[in-house]
């Protein structure tokens, strides 16, 4: 019996209710109470609670970690893509510059151009030939020193090839610009082109790629360009 229950009844009462115990002979002075009273319900404080906080924290931490790693992955991939675009741009620019220099080299290597340049430098064709015999240590043939006017340079019957076109192939006097292409530049342009081209070459072309203002659009990295079919 609870403490409160004890306080409710006098201490001397010795009755039981709800049991099959024998009724003791004794004091029959008091009649049986009309109704057995139920103990009013009361809240039982629960025992010490089991700890669940670490588990929730752990779940939360796992969530944060997963999101964080996905974020980092995304950042690095995006960063890598920008790098790819920049490097690819560099590659294309370098390849094109290489190509341009190769074409210029080939043009200068053409025998007509070499001969003309040599003539402009004042070289002359040698009038005679000799050969040095190293075993016998003597000179065969009758070689003579070349004179200024001696052995004239060939008179340029074969035309000199022009530098790869630095102006496009559509001639200004074409009726419509869509006419079939003529691959030679107008002769007037040729005289001007080799000189500025030669000057441009050594000047500032060391850096591989530089993006223009329009591409950068106020930023520092250009937007990747989409080309069809790639």
């Amino acid at each position: 019996m609870s403490a409160t229950a004890r306080q409710a009844r006098p201490a001397t009462e010795t009755y039981v209710h709800g049991s099959t115990a024998q009724v003791l002979e004794g004091n029959h002075a008091q009649p049986k109470p009309a109704q057995t009273r139920r103990t009013p319900l009361a809240l039982v404080p629960s025992g010490p609670a089991r700890r669940r906080v670490p588990f929730a924290v752990f779940c939360f931490a796992v969530l944060v970690a997963a999101l964080g790693s996905v974020l980092m992955l995304n950042i690095s991939v995006s960063g890598g893509q920008y790098e790819i675009v920049q490097l690819r741009g560099e590659q294309v620019a370098l390849a094109q510059q290489n190509e341009k220099l190769t074409q210029e080299l080939e043009n200068r290597q053409a025998p007509q151009n070499l001969a003309a340049e040599a003539a402009e430098l004042g070289m002359v064709v040698s009038p005679s030939v000799g050969s040095i015999d190293l075993e016998e240590m003597k000179v065969n043939g009758k070689p003579q020193a070349a004179q200024e006017k001696d052995g004239s340079a060939p008179k340029q019957q074969v035309e000199r090839p022009e530098l790869p076109a630095e102006v496009p192939a559509i001639r200004p006097e074409a009726k419509t610009p869509a006419e079939p292409v003529q691959k030679e530049k107008p002769a007037a342009a040729q005289d001007n082109e080799p000189a500025p081209a030669a000057e441009k070459k050594p000047a500032g072309e060391q850096k591989a790629v530089e993006f223009s203002e329009a591409e950068l659009n106020g930023g520092t990295i250009p937007a990747p360009k989409q080309k069809t079919g790639q």
Partner: protein, 592 residues
């Protein structure tokens, strides 16, 4: 009792509810089954083929063009190469004044299209009206400039002109221009080859183009995780020729200058290595520039040295002498009494320079290039023998060196020779051959009597650099070694004492023969002359042959000679290949 009834009613209601629930469930199940079946039909069976149709709509196949092979000379100098170019095209409907964000002022600004057109014209190097006409209009597609270098394309792209695009293309570049132009050939405007090595080696140069299959979405962006098949392109093989481009240029210069000086129709120079048959130079006085084939007249765009046949004249006397010596009819020092006119079979032959009766050795007949003496010696050969020796020296042979238009010349069967022709073939009239044939014949004598096949293509080079050298054909023996030596002596005598003096290269021992032939005119008969000079050097061990031919020079034929141009070119050939000057005395056979 009422409670019982209430119970029954309750249970009945419960049953009814349960029944309704079951019925509803059944209906839902049926609907689900129908849905499932339809799903299976659409997705699984796909009788209408819609999945395939969708994929087909997205699928694109684009061609990966193969890089065309290069054409190189013997030292791997590039004669023809494909380079990257861009076509600038415009969608005219988009060209108008537009707005642009200015990063400096951080504001949108209006841009007038006229200023941009002017800038574009400046970059392209065209005048503003042409560009305006190209760019303004209603066409969805129009060319603004074709074959622009990557430099200019980049500048154009940076301009951010509305509606302007660049498309990648390739163009064939010939860095040497006219040098070896007719041999290398050129492409037409549609990229198909028209002449020269470009045409004959098209299959190997073109390679095989590849294919790329990918899926593209409705917004035009490629879908990254979808189909992505690629068959890589196989680039074309490169072709290496036996030409030496420096000597080719030198020969072209020399013969062009000489033809101009003589006012001749055209001239050719052929330089060959007699021991291997490699063609060092095949030069014409007028050569096409493959970068601009239209500038040359039609008919002059092929190699004249290999395609134009002419009557060779006295250079054929070398073959007659070789045949006679081989057959034992004569030796270089056998003496003959030559009358001013020689008649045989009612055919009379005279010489270029009239003379009285004189005694000459065979070497002297050869050195003075006497028709009378040559007929006297050559008539002792039978017709068949004359024909056979001509054929053995390559006359009438189709030399397929790898350029179109080569001809075997004209050598009739010996039965068809008429009474005069059977003798005129002895001194090179009545038959026709190209300058290449003359060179090959003289190379035979230089090579000790063994004729090597003229060879222009040296090797094929794969894109990865593997070389496949074209094997040299076996030489065919025309005359014995001893005969060849004796003929070489006669050639050397001619160069030092006879008509070959104008072309004698100083400091070297060499042998030569001049040739003057009447050139047949188109309407029968003859008009003008063909003068030629064929020489071999160095005589200690002959290796190089140069033949210079000039067609229809103007002026007295006896004062004109192809000697000087031969001398220049042979001198250059010998010095290019580091042949040491001769230190032995030249052979000089007696002339009478």
């Amino acid at each position: 009792m009422a409670a019982g009834k209430a119970n029954v009613q309750d249970s009945q209601r419960a049953h009814a509810t349960a029944r309704r629930l079951r019925a509803g469930l059944a209906i839902v199940m049926v609907l689900l089954v129908i849905l499932g079946a339809r799903l299976f039909q659409l997705q699984g069976l796909d009788t209408a083929g819609m999945a395939q149709a969708a994929v087909d709509k997205r699928l694109r196949t684009s061609e990966i063009p193969a890089l065309r092979g290069e054409i190189l000379d013997a030292n791997n100098t590039v004669l023809a190469r494909s380079v990257q170019r861009f076509d600038i095209v415009v969608d005219q409907r988009l060209v108008e004044d537009f707005e642009r964000f200015n990063p400096k002022t951080k504001r949108l600004e209006q841009v007038k299209i006229d200023g941009e057109i002017k800038k574009l014209a400046g970059i392209l190097g065209q005048d503003v009206e042409t560009v305006t006409k190209a760019v303004v209009g209603d066409l969805p597609f129009n060319y603004v400039a074709k074959s622009v270098t990557p430099d200019i394309q980049e500048k154009v792209e940076n301009l951010a002109f509305p509606g302007l695009q660049s498309r990648e293309t390739t163009t064939r570049s010939y860095p040497m221009g006219q040098v070896a132009g007719s041999i290398v050939g050129f492409l037409g405007s549609d990229g198909s080859p028209l002449e020269g090595i470009e045409a004959t080696q098209q299959d190997l140069l073109a390679g095989t183009s590849g294919e790329r299959t990918f899926e593209i979405g409705a917004d035009g962006i490629r879908i990254p995780v979808a189909t992505n098949e690629e068959t890589p392109a196989e680039d074309g093989q490169s072709v290496r020729l036996t030409l030496n481009s420096d000597l080719q240029w030198y020969a072209q210069e020399a013969i062009a200058a000489q033809v101009k000086e003589y006012g001749a129709e055209y001239g050719t120079i052929v330089a060959m290595n007699a021991k291997t048959g490699d063609i060092i130079a095949l030069a014409d006085s007028e050569t096409v520039d493959p970068n601009d084939p239209g500038a040359t007249k039609d008919g002059m765009r092929q190699s004249l040295a290999a395609t134009r046949a002419f009557e060779p004249g006295s250079t054929t006397k070398m073959i007659t002498m070789a045949a006679a010596i081989e057959e034992g009819i004569t030796t270089p020092t056998t003496k003959y009494k030559i009358p001013p006119k020689y008649t045989v079979n009612n055919q009379t032959f005279t010489d270029a320079l009239p003379h009285g009766t004189e005694t000459r050795t065979t070497a002297g007949i050869f050195a003075k290039s006497l028709n009378t003496g040559t007929v006297m010696i050559g008539e002792q050969l039978t017709r068949q023998q004359r024909y056979d020796y001509l054929r053995r020296f390559g006359i009438g042979e189709q030399y397929d060196i790898g350029i179109p238009g080569t001809t075997p010349g004209l050598l009739a069967a010996p039965e068809q020779w008429d009474g005069r022709q059977e003798f005129t073939v002895l001194f090179g009239q009545g038959l026709a051959q190209t300058a290449l044939h003359t060179a090959a014949a003289y190379a035979t004598i230089a090579n000790g009597g063994v004729r090597m096949e003229p060879r222009l293509i040296d090797a094929y080079i794969d894109p990865d650099g593997t070389e496949h050298e074209v094997p040299r054909a076996e030489g065919s023996r025309a005359v014995s070694n001893e005969t060849a030596d004796q003929v070489q002596d006669m050639l050397e005598t001619m160069a030092n004492q006879g008509g070959g003096l104008p072309g004698k290269v100083e400091d070297y021992r060499m042998g030569a023969k001049t040739g003057t032939a009447e050139a047949p005119s188109d309407d029968g008969g003859f008009s003008g002359y063909t003068i030629s000079y064929a020489g071999i050097a160095p005589m200690e061990d002959p290796e190089y042959v140069v033949v210079a031919t000039i067609q229809r020079p103007k002026g007295g034929v006896f004062s004109l000679t192809a000697g000087p141009v031969f001398k220049k070119v042979m001198g250059q050939v010998l010095s290019t290949y580091n042949v040491p000057p001769s230190d032995t005395k030249p052979v000089k056979l007696p002339l009478e």
